[in-house]
Symmetry: C2
Subunit: 496 residues, 2 copies
């Protein structure tokens, strides 16, 4: 059985049920699971572990690539399995537990988690659980639709459990490029010079003796939940494309631009979608996740090559992709998230980073994570990796939320994920503010006039003028800086 997928005959003896595999875990263990933006996550162990946690005391530290699909995070959280979770999540039930202080959530730059494990700044991984397409003759784990942190989890874990997912076609083999930096000191440069370079092997090396269990599954990835472009996201896309066209016209970029990165979600997807109607060609992507828009651009021929750590698609596109992997094979690579997001590679390539802000302030500081400054939404993800090291760091947001009751442009953000130092451009459906080379006072005028919703502009102008009377590089009236957020907390609207 499974000769084509488990190519070392003796390994087939390690096949067991998820329930049996779940018995390998002990209370207090640190577990590394595959899964990145719902792609390539483990389908069986999360449920089996949750079931065990409902029966007996079992609490784990769970580290993943990024978010899991299949409601796994919610299931595990509700069962009380998760004591500690990092570096990212996007599940409503888990989110509630985090904000209630019941699950300790460590929100990390996605490039840094395995670096911190490798450097012993985090406790070591006891068990790695990795979804695979196949295990090769020479002990290589072939990942599925994401690589995430799986290679480092396998390298570092005492035991490895493999979820062999029969739903994932064998044609995925060869799509991955597995490179793991050495420990320090003594590390050498990452030899990546171009987005389409292959610098590692096609599978994750593992000593078969460390494989403790193989669990066979047959389940699809959860589909992405992005919404189709609407008037506002199309307007944002239009502003970004107009800006990039200006850069080309001024000779600062060629029509191939520089490698593109786009964050997960509806707005960044819409911006990429908008490139279909742009004059740019010969594009490349060096991103962490590829959404539907990347495949539209591959299909249109405008995108030459896409590098990422995961592929997260709508249901229809996901099916098509799995059936037609061959069509994309020469133009696609999946890498460990440490490499897709690595400062060394990003700074060398000089990417154009497009990420979504929850809100930004008049000086260009960005909150990507904390609703109302306090409550975690999903996590910073890779936005910090990209924004800090990009050639151009662009943040996009609709100007208002909740039918206008919340302005995304505020006097001061109550939580900072990206400082003004790391933000070159901000855009809403109203317009775009090019902040390069500007001092905070200059940034404020542009952001207010170009990006804020007209309903909120006059009050922002007033705040800024009054704050300037008190002076400073970054004028503020601290007693009023969060008055809009306070208004919303009390009256459910930021409007005066």
């Amino acid at each position: 059985m499974y000769e084509d997928r488990i190519r070392q005959p003796e390994l087939r003896q390690k096949i067991m049920t998820a329930e049996e595999a779940a018995r390998l875990f002990r209370d207090g263990m640190s577990v590394g699971m595959s899964g990145f933006t719902k792609a390539g996550d483990c389908k069986a162990l999360p449920a089996a572990l949750a079931e065990r946690a409902r029966q007996e005391d079992l609490k784990l530290t769970l580290i993943t690539g990024a978010s899991l699909g299949n409601d796994s995070d919610g299931l595990m959280a509700q069962a009380g399995l998760l004591a500690r979770r990092m570096p990212f999540q996007a599940d409503a039930s888990l989110r509630k537990k985090i904000n209630d202080g019941e699950v300790m959530f460590i929100d990390q730059h996605l490039s840094e988690t395995v670096e911190q494990l490798r450097g012993h700044n985090l406790a070591p991984i006891d068990i790695a659980v990795i979804e695979a397409v196949a295990i090769t003759e020479d002990g290589g784990i072939v990942p599925s639709t994401s690589v995430g942190n799986s290679a480092s989890f396998v390298e570092q874990a005492a035991q490895v459990i493999i979820e062999l997912n029969l739903r994932m076609p064998l044609s995925l083999e060869g799509l991955h490029d597995i490179y793991v930096p050495a420990a320090r000191p003594g590390r050498t440069p990452i030899p990546m010079l171009n987005v389409d370079d292959r610098i590692g092997g096609a599978a994750i090396r593992v000593d078969p003796a460390r494989i403790a269990a193989i669990v066979v599954t047959d389940s699809a990835d959860s589909p992405s939940a992005i919404l189709p472009p609407d008037d506002e996201t199309q307007a944002i896309a239009g502003h970004v494309i107009e800006f990039l066209s200006g850069e080309v016209k001024a000779g600062r970029l060629t029509p191939a631009l520089l490698p593109l990165q786009a964050g997960i979600g509806t707005i960044a997807n819409a911006v990429l979608h908008g490139l279909l109607d742009s004059p740019f060609a010969g594009l490349t992507m060096y991103s962490e996740v590829l959404q539907d828009s990347a495949f539209e651009l591959l299909d249109s021929g405008q995108l030459d090559f896409a590098s990422a750590s995961s592929i997260t698609l709508s249901e229809a596109r996901h099916e098509t992709f799995l059936q037609e992997v061959e069509r994309y094979r020469s133009r696609l690579v999946l890498r460990p998230q440490e490499i897709s997001n690595h400062p060394e590679v990003l700074r060398r390539l000089g990417i154009i980073a497009i990420n979504t802000a929850l809100e930004f302030d008049i000086y260009g500081n960005v909150n990507s994570t904390h609703v109302g400054g306090t409550h975690m939404m999903n996590g910073i993800g890779g936005s910090g990796d990209f924004a800090r090291n990009a050639h151009l760091s662009i943040f996009v947001s609709k100007s208002v939320a909740k039918a206008g009751a919340i302005s995304s442009v505020v006097p001061m953000v109550p939580h900072v994920d990206h400082t003004e130092h790391d933000v070159d451009v901000v855009a809403t459906e109203w317009g775009l503010a090019d902040l390069r080379g500007l001092a905070p006072r200059e940034r404020a005028e542009l952001i207010i006039e170009r990006c804020a919703h007209p309903h909120y502009r006059e009050e922002l102008r007033h705040y800024f003028r009054q704050a300037c009377k008190r002076g400073g590089q970054t004028p503020h009236m601290l007693e009023l800086a969060f008055s809009w957020h306070e208004r919303f907390r009390r009256a459910r609207s930021m409007l005066a």
Copy 2:
């Protein structure tokens, strides 16, 4: 004349006075000047340009490595010469003009300024003014006590003015290692594997035709203004060394640690000074500036090698160093600040970064720059380059300022330079909080109990407890988050 220092005879015809050289500048130009933490700055042109600005309309964008000495920034600011200034400064008069909104100050990560110039995100440099020890036969500018951004300024500028400083000994030649990354796309890895690697040439290449003037000077660098260690800085040093000793004991570091970086200023200098009495040996530094403490450690033999972009010393040590360069030659290198601070190199080496915070909050967010959240002190400098990419990112501060009227540990910082994602450890004279792998709520308890001054602890506990009742990943009561800063603004004390 000057045969030993101007080794191309025809260049000697370009010698002129500073006043004559100042006539080469036109209103609105962008000027790149050498100088980093008061070392290797231009001594003559700033005064000559200030004099011209007092006579006629002359406004410039001034870009340097970092801060200038000799009151140059103040002189130029007071003369109205500076329209725009980046990426760092440390002058009282200029600071006032910045905070009054009269000079537009762009506060940048020190590794990024020349990257932004090279990528045309900033307007090009019209004239570079570089202090030099000599100009070689083959057209190489030998910098003096700093490299800063000088190599890229020279590469990019239309015209180059050299300040040949006779006070700087020729023995400085050979101390520098000049490597400039290529433009993108097409950049290759920076081939630096160890702190003592030399990867470039000893001088800054320049086409002699672009040298517009040579101005001969004979002036010393300004001495550093650091204070000697006191009880509190010694206590901070003690906590950091105890922490590092624990890392060695736990097998996470060797007694050689990892390459050290220490920010400019009294506290970071005191921490390094404290290493004299530590059990560590075979140390290395990969920093942006070397202060007195680095030379004490070189002299004691505990420091094997030091790499930086500038040398900023007390008056006595500066004199000794210039007389005894030979003694240090094999254990010292000065690099462009883009390389001393480069994310690629820092992440590869895995440095231990020690930087000073103006204040930090109970969740570990750090304000390095803005007094009261609004008024610029000096600038972010390289602290962000180092903190983001370090193996360990440590921030230090005295727990109180102004005789206890200001707490450096606050409910929320009113300006964020370093987010909790980039801060592993914080320490004051009271103790050290190891924040690795902790969620914000856990960080808060540690920071309050270990680092806050006892006079402020109970109110911080109360704030945190009350905030937790409202829930959230990072609990806050926004209406009270800045109440301490407001108290200080009104009553000159944060104490209730």
